[in-house]
């Protein structure tokens, strides 16, 4: 670990200015991921700007839905009555993540900014284009059992580790950010990036920008939802594959659907084609299996993650069945 300066501004403007002053400064909120990365010399900030004193913790209803402050903890969001009632998919996704202790510390903004758990990213002695552009992708020919089956490039096959973000992309959230050029809204599906030629960039957040809040529009996805997370142990493990499924049902027919996956790509993987295909279909195992098959089009496996080609569609079917009350 490299020694660093530490500042704790109380004003948003001061926080932004302090960050902008120093090329190697970073924001820190819950620190549940950043501290680990610093300890392993993966990320080496020279200054940490602690934003925990900024007033960004509120969870409040808006005319369009709900606004969640970037500093609201994962626990607070998961347990908030409004979220549990109107956005149960998000609550389920959050509770499936990490451990109670980590959820108490981790924030919504921090969760969005967490880095991949790819082994090669975590070890400064091994090649990783995300950590050190140009050094190569260790996982491509290495141990890639937890890696992507969609949207990867030959520069990077890592996956995004968040559960929360899978629910947020399915719920068509918007991210409110601010920075040198003022405030702007980013649709959640455009917040995270695919690796392409630049795996060192996880998100489309611009330099010196700060996440202020996440807005989720009210929707009819309040009943028939399920977040399924498949993992090797019952808790405190990243997903092998996860599925956020939300259905709006009219008796036995699907009026509208949302579907996204985690653990399969460099970003939370929204399945819009599959969603469209579900509309108007009857609720049945057959419908869901067809959806899963459609969702898997274009998937490709590496040496150790071929199981995901079977697990992912199984998980989609299972999540949709559970959401629909068939399971």
């Amino acid at each position: 670990m490299k020694n660093f300066q530490y500042v704790r501004p109380t004003q948003q403007q001061a926080a932004l200015e302090t960050l902008a002053q120093d090329d190697k400064a970073m924001f820190i909120a819950g620190g549940t991921n950043l501290i680990d990365l610093m300890k392993r010399n993966v990320v080496l900030p020279e200054k940490l700007v602690d934003i925990n004193r900024l007033p960004l913790r509120k969870i409040e209803p808006t005319s369009k839905g709900v606004r969640i402050g970037a500093l609201a903890s994962n626990s607070e969001v998961a347990e908030h009555p409004l979220i549990r009632e109107k956005f149960p998919l998000l609550s389920q996704a959050l509770i499936s993540g990490a451990s109670a202790q980590l959820r108490n510390m981790a924030t919504v903004g921090g969760n969005m900014m967490q880095r991949t758990r790819c082994y090669y990213f975590y070890d400064a002695a091994l090649p990783c284009n995300k950590r050190q552009p140009g050094s190569g992708c260790g996982a491509l020919q290495g141990i890639n059992s937890k890696h992507a089956i969609f949207g990867f490039s030959d520069k990077c096959i890592a996956v995004h580790p968040s559960d929360m973000c899978v629910a947020l992309v399915a719920l068509e959230a918007t991210v409110l950010v601010t920075g040198p050029k003022g405030e702007r809204q980013v649709p959640f599906k455009d917040f995270h990036r695919l690796p392409g030629e630049h795996p060192e960039r996880d998100t489309n957040l611009e330099k010196n920008e700060l996440i202020l809040a996440v807005d989720i529009p009210a929707s009819s996805f309040t009943q028939n939802v399920h977040y399924l997370k498949v993992r090797e142990r019952a808790s405190y493990a990243f997903a092998l594959v996860s599925v956020a499924a939300a259905l709006d049902l009219d008796k036995g027919t699907i009026r509208n659907a949302r579907l996204a996956m985690g653990g399969v790509a460099h970003k939370p993987w929204r399945l819009m084609e599959a969603e469209k295909a579900l509309v108007g279909k009857p609720v049945s195992e057959e419908t869901f299996q067809q959806t899963a098959a459609l969702a898997m089009q274009g998937a490709k496996a590496f040496e150790h993650n071929a199981y995901k080609l079977k697990l992912a569609p199984n998980a989609i079917t299972q999540a949709l069945k559970t959401a629909a009350g068939l399971s």
Binding site: R40, Y119, A125, G142, I143, Y307, L311, S327
Partner: protein, 741 residues
């Protein structure tokens, strides 16, 4: 007068841990918590290649960094006299040349410590450690057991064994033969390895370390630095988990000692989590093949078991992979072959149930496969082949209640309700399976010494160098002493965990209770004898002239059996005009032990659920029936079984040290990616302790309990998974990826 609340404690009582309060209130001091005056902090720089030599090391930046006191490498490390001595394998616990820290420029394995940076704060030492730049001359390395089986050697200390005809299973009417693989597993105790070392003088070292054996630490430091026993002290009363990983002297101890020598101040070295994976031992992976043949009625005819483990290039670490096979069942023909594949890795180390755990996975899986081939109940097959003496050497068992384990375990579990057909049981989308396995583990005893002191307040102090790494040994020994002396727990104190105390063997191999417990039992018995001798010979004593058989020791006093005459221990000392009374006694098992085979036994019954769509496995229920002799403390014994079951769940379903063999380097070396069970993975565990005395091994009737419940346990899970799904996974861990593929 003793208060009524100060109850007499007896062997077996479920007494709380004597050090429990210290631990839960944070008052128990662990190796990295000795904030000695002037203490400094050492951080190790480790190699990033698996084989080769250090071409150059640039330490200039690190040396100039703020707060840095020293950067120690092979170029400037103080001489370690013991490193130059010729290798003497006689009596050495591991055969070969021990790893020598900062000795030369050779790299033997990845994560090899190559420098120690000492600074005034941990943060500064950490930062400076990252500034050391190393150039290597790399050589081709090999770290994959599977690709190097053709390089296997017969270890210098062979484990091979045979009886009857070779490969007799081949011609048996019913036979199975399969290969079984187990991966690297890492002990991963919560407390990573740590040491605070001090040079009290030019020739005097004290280490506050994390060890299962203060005497072994002391002796190995004496040997390394050519020092006298009285000038080396290892202090380790509290250990945050060890499981075998703290049973020898490791680089963090040597680094702290060398660092302290250079900077002239105490140095503390704590390993980082990633460093413990390939520096301080691990359970070696195994590649095994088991063939078993039986008559159509299920009588075993022959077993052939071949096993490969790995070791480093500098030592031969052997383990008892073949032991369960040799002794578990009555089988006239058996041959066992054990080989080592030397690789560019650090030396493995004993890991809970070392060898037996991997070996029994293969044996007990194969027994299950044989049961299906015979169309026979797996439990009936095992009962049919019960061995009424140890088939390895024809010796009678010192005690054997395996049949009781089978019977009571099966009853409690409801084994008879099991539908024998695989895939026949279901609960919604979950496939349900039931499996079982037997276990066997050596029950031995080693030499130990204890000191007992009667103090002026009538209390008893007992001392031994033994460690208590968590099983509750200190509690048990307090309890044994209180039981023998007739004192309350409040008036009985046990001191442990320091090499200056009387000799104790290491706390491993499930022999601490039998060895040190016996010494405590014997020394307290001797102390009573001395008290009695003095009391009955004392003129004017109320007990003068009393017969030995007539004297009772209870309530911290001596009393005549038939009379009301009683003399408290403190009054006794006063009468004798003694400030205290002390006895030291050495105990060992004696020749009787050689006439018997001592083993602990168990039968494990497991119910699992496997999700038919996702392949997730959840252990639903466990019944573990254990014959560990007479139980010294039902609470701590039960906890030992819980711990073993949790370990078994981890090994069966999730633990796997992954190495990218292109780099010869571990990749999942943290607790986020190397999975051990969390609470949610641990189901109801029912423990049955047979609790019958072993008449041979020690005077309390105890056998070991720390490891036996783990032996065979992983196979019980694999067998249950087969019963649930019809899929036989012979390659641990059993993951969703394997089950849905």
């Amino acid at each position: 007068m003793e208060k009524a609340s100060l109850q007499q404690i007896q062997i077996g009582d479920p007494l709380n841990r004597v050090e429990g309060q210290l631990k839960v209130t944070g008052k128990a001091k662990y190796a990295a918590e000795y904030n000695l005056s002037g203490v400094t902090f050492g951080v190790m720089v480790t190699s990033t290649i698996a084989k080769g030599r250090i071409k150059s090391m640039d330490t200039k930046l690190a040396k100039k960094a703020p707060g840095v006191l020293a950067v120690i490498t092979h170029k400037n490390a103080p001489e370690v006299p013991g490193y130059k001595a010729a290798v003497n394998n006689e009596g050495a616990r591991v055969y070969g040349q021990e790893f020598r820290l900062f000795y030369d420029d050779q790299i033997h394995h990845n994560y090899q410590p190559i420098a120690l940076v000492v600074a005034d704060t941990l943060a500064r030492a950490n930062e400076a450690a990252s500034m050391v730049k190393v150039q290597y001359e790399q050589e081709t390395h090999h770290t994959d057991i599977s690709r190097n089986l053709d390089q296997a050697i017969q270890p210098a200390r062979p484990e091979d064994y045979s009886r009857g005809e070779e490969d007799a299973y081949l011609t048996a009417p019913v036979k199975v033969v399969h290969e079984y693989h187990t991966p690297i597993q890492v002990h991963n105790p919560m407390e990573t390895h740590a040491t605070t070392a001090v040079w009290e003088a030019d020739n005097k070292i004290t280490v506050y370390n994390k060890t299962q054996a203060t005497k072994i630490s002391q002796q190995e430091i004496m040997k390394a630095f050519d020092l006298k026993e009285e000038n080396v002290q290892a202090h380790s009363p509290f250990v945050g988990g060890a499981f075998g990983s703290s049973s020898r002297l490791w680089p963090q101890e040597m680094a702290a000692i060398l660092g302290a020598k250079v900077v002239g101040r105490p140095v503390q070295v704590v390993l980082k989590r990633d460093q413990v994976f390939n520096m301080v031992g691990y359970r070696p992976p195994s590649r095994q093949k088991v063939g078993i043949g039986a008559s159509a009625e299920g009588k075993l005819i022959g077993i052939t078991h071949e096993g490969y483990g790995i070791t480093s290039r500098y030592e031969q670490f052997t383990e008892r992979m073949m032991d369960p096979t040799k002794s578990m069942y009555h089988c006239p023909n058996l041959n066992a072959k054990y080989r080592l594949v030397p690789l560019d890795m650090s030396t493995p180390c004993w890991t809970r149930g070392p060898g037996e755990t991997s070996g029994s996975f293969a044996l007990e899986s194969a027994m299950d496969e044989l049961a299906y081939a015979l169309n026979m109940d797996p439990l009936s097959l095992r009962m049919k082949n019960y061995a009424d003496k140890d088939p390895e050497n024809e010796l009678p068992w010192s005690s054997n209640y395996l049949k009781e384990c089978y019977k009571q375990g099966a009853e409690r579990f409801g084994w008879q309700k099991r539908n024998p057909t695989p895939r026949s049981m279901r609960s919604g989308e979950w496939q349900v399976g039931m499996g079982m396995a037997s276990g066997i583990y050596k029950a031995v005893r080693d030499r130990a010494v204890a000191r007992a002191k009667l103090l002026s307040d009538g209390s008893v102090l007992v001392q031994s160098a033994v460690a208590d790494v968590g099983p509750g040994s200190a509690t048990i020994f307090t309890q044994i002493a209180a039981d023998v002396m007739g004192t309350s727990i409040e008036k009985t104190r046990f001191e442990w965990g320091d090499s200056s105390l009387p000799h104790a063997p290491g706390q491993f191999g499930s022999h601490t209770t039998a060895s040190v417990g016996s010494a405590v039992y014997d020394v307290c018995t001797a102390l009573k004898q001395k008290i009695q001798e003095l009391a009955v010979n004392q003129k004017g004593s109320s007990l003068q002239g009393a017969q030995a058989t007539n004297v009772v020791f209870e309530n911290a006093s001596i009393r005549l059996k038939n009379g009301t005459t009683s003399l408290t221990y403190s009054d006794f000392l006063q009468q004798q005009q003694l400030p205290s009374l002390e006895v030291i006694k050495e105990s060992d098992g004696g020749p009787l032990l050689e006439k018997y085979s001592g083993k602990s036994f168990c039968a494990n019954f497991v119910e699992v659920r496997v999700h038919s769509v996702t392949g997730e496995v959840r252990v639903q229920r466990v019944v573990s029936a254990v014959d560990a002799g007479k139980i010294m403390n039902h609470k701590t014994a039960q906890s030992q079984v819980y711990g073993a079951v949790v370990w078994g769940i981890g090994i069966a379903l999730m633990e796997e040290g992954l190495i990218d063999h292109r780099y010869g380097r571990h990749v999942n070396n943290d607790l986020a990616e190397y999975h051990v069970p969390v609470h949610a993975d641990v189901p109801d565990i029912e423990v049955i302790l047979i609790d019958k005395e072993d008449p041979v091994i020690d005077p309390m009737g105890a056998k070991g309990i720390g490891e036996i419940p783990l032996v065979g346990f992983t196979a019980a899970i694999a067998n249950a998974v087969y019963h649930a799904t019809g899929q036989r996974i012979r390659n641990l861990p059993i993951t969703p990826a394997k089950l849905i593929s």
